[in-house]
């Protein structure tokens, strides 16, 4: 498997333990230092980390080293499982009111993604048969109402507003009454971003809450948030009794330790995650994957699921076998590129693979539509023998291929290099897949058997 930074460091730490029986307290403390470093590096709040480490310590001391050849992986497993447990809990679901309309209120800091998430949630709930209405309670940010109107328009969902001169609690009340009259069974309130220390504006939220008694009050948190996440979450929770959390902007490369911080201080379930700016980019929260991510192990399962949703199963089987036997050829490569393209932006997908998260390596793998045309042209200028034996394509063959495809030798070189790297990556994926989650099957032989470690 590909080791994340933490796994490597733990391995270092435990190297000297070969032949030892049980992990002593000192051994464990040594290892936990690395765990602490990893968690804080992932932006988990340091006080939360302190608590967490104390729990882990109990479980790790006395671990049988001889039993397993890799105590490092055992420790990671404990850390991972504990993280997943802590972040787990209730399902990603919106509590519906016994008597409609259900009222959902979105709250959070400035720029966290409330307005976008309001629209995403409406989109999500409508697919489940709800008839949402969006309410513009942000009367402060320039063009906030317009922003919500535009998003509502894109979804063809009604947006209620009373301009920016009416107090937000009054807007909320009027909206709920209107929704009841017009048969909208879900009302989502978009509120203005505010600092958790802003007395006036926090009181305003309380007033909205008391006026319309929302069924859900969701804190929208930017997943790139650092140590301050605990202060923010705590303050919002104290004033409003939150019912859930939505983490946004997880489509980037943040490790997202704020997830653990927020969960710890509020006790609220993380209900959804935002995975992009588009209105269908709202996904269920998976504590397991989040644990992987915080530990820097990549989001293998998301990758696998994405792949499964988009790949043609039969072709996958064939590819599978070829890769396993290292018969993966340039022809397969073309096919695979077009398959991968269906999965979404390639960089995003590759970013989910452990060890490939660092952008540098990805540069050579970037593929876009134009590239694909080149790739196809180049490969079709090869002889069948060459396609089967890419390693044998020497200088004079490269020149001929370049000429035949109207490209340059550099481009042919680049393609062959990309191909080699892809082949390597595929191998890595396969090796890693052997250790992936139980029950998941198929793509490239991912998830055949065994535990994550």
């Amino acid at each position: 498997m590909v080791f994340s930074g933490l796994a490597e460091k733990l391995q270092e730490t435990f190297k000297k333990l070969r032949g030892k029986g049980r992990l002593t307290e000192e051994d464990v403390d040594q290892a936990l230092k690395e765990v602490r470093r990893a968690l804080i590096g992932a932006d988990v709040n340091f006080l939360v980390v302190k608590d967490f480490i104390a729990r882990i310590r109990e479980r790790a001391v006395g671990l049988d080293v001889l039993q397993s050849l890799t105590p490092a992986q055992q420790v990671i497993k404990i850390v991972h499982d504990e993280l997943a447990t802590l972040m787990g809990g209730t399902r990603s679901k919106i509590e519906l009111a016994p008597a409609p309309p259900t009222v959902v209120m979105m709250v959070g800091l400035q720029g966290g993604g409330k307005t976008t998430t309001t629209a995403k949630l409406a989109n999500h709930m409508r697919r489940q048969g709800r008839r949402p209405m969006l309410v513009a309670c942000d009367i402060y940010r320039p063009a906030a109402i317009k922003q919500l109107q535009v998003l509502g328009g894109q979804l063809d969902v009604p947006v209620f507003d009373m301009g920016d001169n009416v107090a937000p609690p009054d807007i909320a009340r009027t909206a709920v009454e209107k929704a009841r009259r017009e048969g909208n069974d879900l009302v989502i309130l978009d509120t203005a971003g505010r600092l958790h220390i802003d007395e006036g504006l926090m009181t305003e939220l309380q007033n909205i809450m008391e006026t319309v008694k929302p069924n859900e009050i969701l804190l929208v948190v930017d997943s790139m948030t650092g140590q301050d996440a605990v202060n923010v979450a705590k303050a919002f929770n104290e004033r409003l009794s939150l019912t859930g959390v939505i983490l946004t902007k997880l489509d980037g490369d943040t490790r997202g330790g704020a997830a653990l911080s927020v969960k710890t201080v509020t006790g609220c379930p993380i209900k959804f995650v935002g995975m992009g700016e588009k209105l269908d980019a709202l996904e269920d929260f998976h504590p397991d994957r989040m644990a992987d991510r915080i530990l820097g192990m990549g989001d293998m399962l998301t990758l696998i699921e994405k792949a499964q949703a988009n790949f043609d199963q039969e072709q996958v089987e064939i590819l599978n076998n070829r890769i396993r036997s290292m018969e993966f050829t340039l022809e397969d490569f073309v096919q695979q590129i077009s398959q991968v393209k269906k999965m979404g932006p390639l960089d995003q997908i590759l970013g989910m693979i452990p060890g490939l998260g660092g952008m540098k390596k990805l540069k050579d793998l970037e593929v876009d539509d134009k590239d694909l045309v080149f790739v196809e042209a180049i490969i079709s200028s090869m002889t069948p023998w060459e396609r089967q034996h890419p390693q044998e394509i020497n200088g004079s063959r490269r020149r001929r291929i370049a000429q035949g495809s109207g490209t340059s030798v550099q481009e042919v070189n680049r393609l062959l290099k990309q191909f080699e790297q892809t082949r390597k990556m595929m191998r890595q994926l396969m090796d890693m897949g052997k250790g992936a989650k139980k029950g998941k099957k198929n793509l490239l032989g991912f998830g055949k058997k065994g535990s994550p470690f």
């Binding site: 602490r36 470093r37 804080i40 590096g41 932006d43 709040n45 340091f46 006080l47 939360v48 608590d51 800091l109 400035q110 720029g111 966290g112 993604g113 307005t115 402060y140 940010r141 320039p142 063009a143 906030a144 317009k146 922003q147 919500l148 109107q149 535009v150 998003l151 894109q154 600092l195 958790h196 220390i197 930017d222 790139m224 948030t225 650092g226 140590q227 301050d228 605990v230 202060n231 923010v232 705590k234 303050a235 902007k249 489509d251 980037g252 490369d253 943040t254 490790r255 704020a258 710890t264 201080v265 700016e277 932006p345 960089d347 995003q348 970013g351 952008m359 990805l362 970037e366 876009d368």
Partner: protein
């Protein structure tokens, strides 16, 4: 030239809690002991300085304390502040100014950090100082982003060059630069859509805006400001690295320092990438922009306000 000296003067009156909550960690301490080191380390971590940078700073601090045979916590504290200030640079960074008209400023960053608001404040500052300003609505992606910039334009009395939503941002930048020249504008500020630094297609789009400006006017953009949200943790390092790689960031703006987040991650960024921090945002109002002052920033880093003092349950 002290482009921001005046701003500093005018803003020192608007005292935000950013500066008011100062009270050092060592207050009341008698001796330098392990506890103190540990607390300082934690204060640094809590301020988002990052664990590696925090450990390194505390390590260097130990060395200094030994070398100088310090015994007074106040002295130790002063040394630590100096260490950080050395990294951040003593001097207040100034904005680059073009010799030619217009000075072109391009503002970039991830989603929701405060780019457009910063542009509004910056435009206001230039206007106040007698410069003519033109705004370029090159965020053509986010819903109502153009309207948002226009509202700011109205507030400060600056015209906005815009196309329709969804159009090519580079084309907007192109037109804006030509308009700025035709109107003999002093400062052109280009708003761009928030984008995650890991999305190569969006970063390519940004590079194109940058390229077009440079092609139309040598040396433009004269300033590429990367806006970072002080609430952001270690991911800001990745943001800074990739935005710098893409469009050669010339300065940082750290926003939302009116909250309880300290923005300590900029220390690692300054150390690793050497991008000067030029301004800070301390609120949503038109006047809530200030020049970055390393001393003040470091003081605030160790400031303890009630909110952050409380323990996590």
């Amino acid at each position: 030239m002290g482009f921001f000296g005046k701003l500093k003067e005018s803003l020192s009156k608007t005292r935000k809690n950013f500066i008011e909550k100062i009270d050092s960690i060592v207050t009341g301490r008698k001796v330098i002991d392990e506890d103190l080191y540990e607390e300082l380390e934690e204060a640094l971590i809590q301020a988002d300085v990052g664990i590696d940078a925090a450990l390194e700073l505390v390590e260097n601090l130990r060395v200094e304390v030994k070398k100088r045979r310090l015994s007074n916590p106040e002295e130790l504290y002063a040394v630590l502040k100096d260490l950080i200030q050395d990294i951040l640079g003593e001097e207040t960074a100034t904005l680059n100014r073009a010799s030619a008209q217009p000075a072109v400023i391009m503002v970039v960053g991830v989603n929701g950090v405060g780019k457009t608001t910063t542009i509004g404040k910056l435009a206001h500052y230039y206007k106040e100082n007698g410069n003519s300003v033109l705004l370029s609505a090159a965020d053509t992606f986010r819903a109502a982003a153009i309207d948002q910039l226009e509202i700011w334009g109205n507030r400060v009395g600056a015209a906005v060059i815009k196309h329709s939503e969804g159009s090519d941002p580079a084309a907007v930048a192109f037109d804006s630069l030509h308009a700025a020249r035709a109107r003999k504008i002093d400062v052109l500020i280009v708003d761009t859509a928030g984008r995650l630094h890991t999305k190569s297609n969006l970063m390519e789009e940004l590079k194109k805006v940058h390229r077009v400006l440079g092609r139309e006017m040598p040396d433009a953009p004269h300033e590429v400001l990367l806006v970072l949200d002080a609430t952001t943790g270690q991911n800001a390092i990745s943001q800074a690295r990739l935005f710098k790689e893409a469009v050669g960031v010339t300065g940082l703006v750290l926003t939302k320092l009116d909250g309880t987040a300290k923005g300590g991650v900029i220390i690692a960024i300054k150390q690793g990438l050497d991008i000067p921090i030029k301004m800070i945002g301390v609120g949503e109002g038109i006047d809530d922009l200030r020049p970055f002052d390393a001393r003040e920033f470091v003081d605030a880093l160790f400031a303890r306000d009630k909110k952050t003092e409380e323990q996590v349950g």
